[in-house]
Amino acid sequence: MGLRKVAVVGAGMTKFVRRAQETGRELAYEAAKMALDSCELTLDDVDAVALGTAPDAFDAVHMKGEYLSDGAGAWRKPFMRSYVGGGTGVFAPIQGWYHVASGLFDVCLVVCEEKMSSCQPHPQGAFLTIFDHTTERPLGPNLLWIFALEMNRYMQTYGLQKKDIALVSVKNKRNAADHPCALLGDPNITVEDVLNSEVLAWPVQRLDVSPVTDGAVAVVLAAENVAKRITDKPVWIKGVGWSLDTAYWTNRDLYYPKYVEYAARMAYEMAGIREPRKEIHVVEPYDPFDYKELHHLEGLLLADKGEAPRLTAEGVTARTGNMPVCPSGGLLGVGNPIAAAGLMKVAEIFWQLRGEAGKRQVPGKPITGLAQAWGDLMQVGTVIILGIGG
């Protein structure tokens, strides 16, 4: 395709917190500055900025991209904001990737920020407007409905119990106890804790859900020749993919994310991956709800349909398992500032492949990893594959 090789060369993130004293712009600055410092670059080295952030309505700032642009380091630079709901955190680095792969820019700073706590009494007030205004909103929907409906359909289709799914929440919250930026890490949480937590919208309970969070993450992307000057440990973007399903969500199979499969197949093809289960060594699928990690592993073709819960029960997806999944602690453990959460996953794969993930480091020197995000009206899949060497 005549595309240039693109590497991730630096990353930074803020703590993920329930309510940040910093403004969105300040959070964006902190993450962006840390990412640049991590690879010893300054803003002068940055040719373009790609920003990801979710609904303007969270902050009641229309054109939030412009509001955040200074904090994201976009002063007098080519700047674009992308938004595909929860999928944004992996779509923004894809956008940064094609900025650089195309040959247009050598260095692109990718920044994702979310401040959900501004929206009172609850950010769901802004989220609710994703439902169709005429045929759905008059029914008084709750955002949890669509996830509860999907989860129930998934459980029914494969004969799963709540305890099969609660294992994901336990695994991720325990993993997050080792993450210095995590909001909800808990080294001692048990399946019983999840099963005994408050029922919100059955089958979804309090500890099945990731929390409302504020935070920001940034990564630095560079073209091959530049990347090799910046670092001796570049992490290459091997493949990207994204896909959007229909907004008539009630007309879809709710137990299987087809759109994730399409996105994954696109990314695998670009990365030259034929056997993803053997070739992907560490995975960060999007896990705002525990069942979603399972859903997504199946959509990513990393588990047979209905088999992801078994892999979790057998420890295959544990940090020390054969296929570590969400070693970071994921959204369930680190937190879920929508767009920033997705980019956190890309940053985690970057750190894992460089062997810099500290206590979270997976064993076995992984060389290929995958991050995925999901969102909109349960219908967008975004996938990025990172690798070292080659």
Partner: protein
């Protein structure tokens, strides 16, 4: 990362920091109101609901009958071919038993949202609605349910002209 960096930026605040005004903040209540045009397909759908009927559309090329109706087939990307009256009953594809309001306040009585596959449409064609006249413990995926309509004089051409769906024996 964690190896080199000891302190990560980001200051988390507590609820009490707000209630006790320990930090400066500002509040604003938006006053945005909207009026939407229902459009051609949903316009007809709502008009039929007012008459106590559920209508869908059929595409000859992909041989699908879908609801809610749309004027174009998003698969074939060509106009839909004909309007089709559907039944006012169907099957529960999936459901939830919801105990909280959108702002996370507890509800006194749980709501039971469901995706209901409407009879007469192609398999898997559901709409979002609520279930009623049923013990939440008795709701099952695959259960047959029927629309409970508002009295004709009270219908206004809205999805809420169907009060809810109830189980049929």
């Amino acid at each position: 990362m964690t190896a080199k960096i000891k302190e990560f930026p980001g200051v988390g605040l507590r609820e009490s920091d707000f209630t006790e005004r320990k930090v400066l903040f500002t509040e604003w209540k938006p006053n945005a109101q909207y009026a939407w045009d229902a459009g051609i397909a949903i316009g007809r759908y709502l008009a039929e609901l007012k008459e106590g009927r559920i209508i869908g559309v059929h595409c000859h090329r992909c041989r699908r009958t879908v609801v809610p109706p749309r004027i174009f087939c998003e698969w074939c990307f060509r106009p839909m071919d004909e309007w089709v009256y559907l039944e006012d009953h169907g099957v529960v594809n999936t459901f939830s038993i919801c105990h909280v309001r959108w702002d996370m306040e507890r509800l006194e009585e749980p709501l039971i949202p469901a995706v209901i596959e409407i009879a007469g449409a192609s398999k898997g064609m559901g709409i979002l609605h609520l279930l009623g006249e049923v013990d939440p413990k008795q709701v099952k995926i695959g259960m047959k349910v029927k629309a409970v309509w508002k009295p004709a004089a009270e219908r206004i051409g809205a999805i809420t002209d169907i009060l809810y769906f109830k189980p049929v024996e």
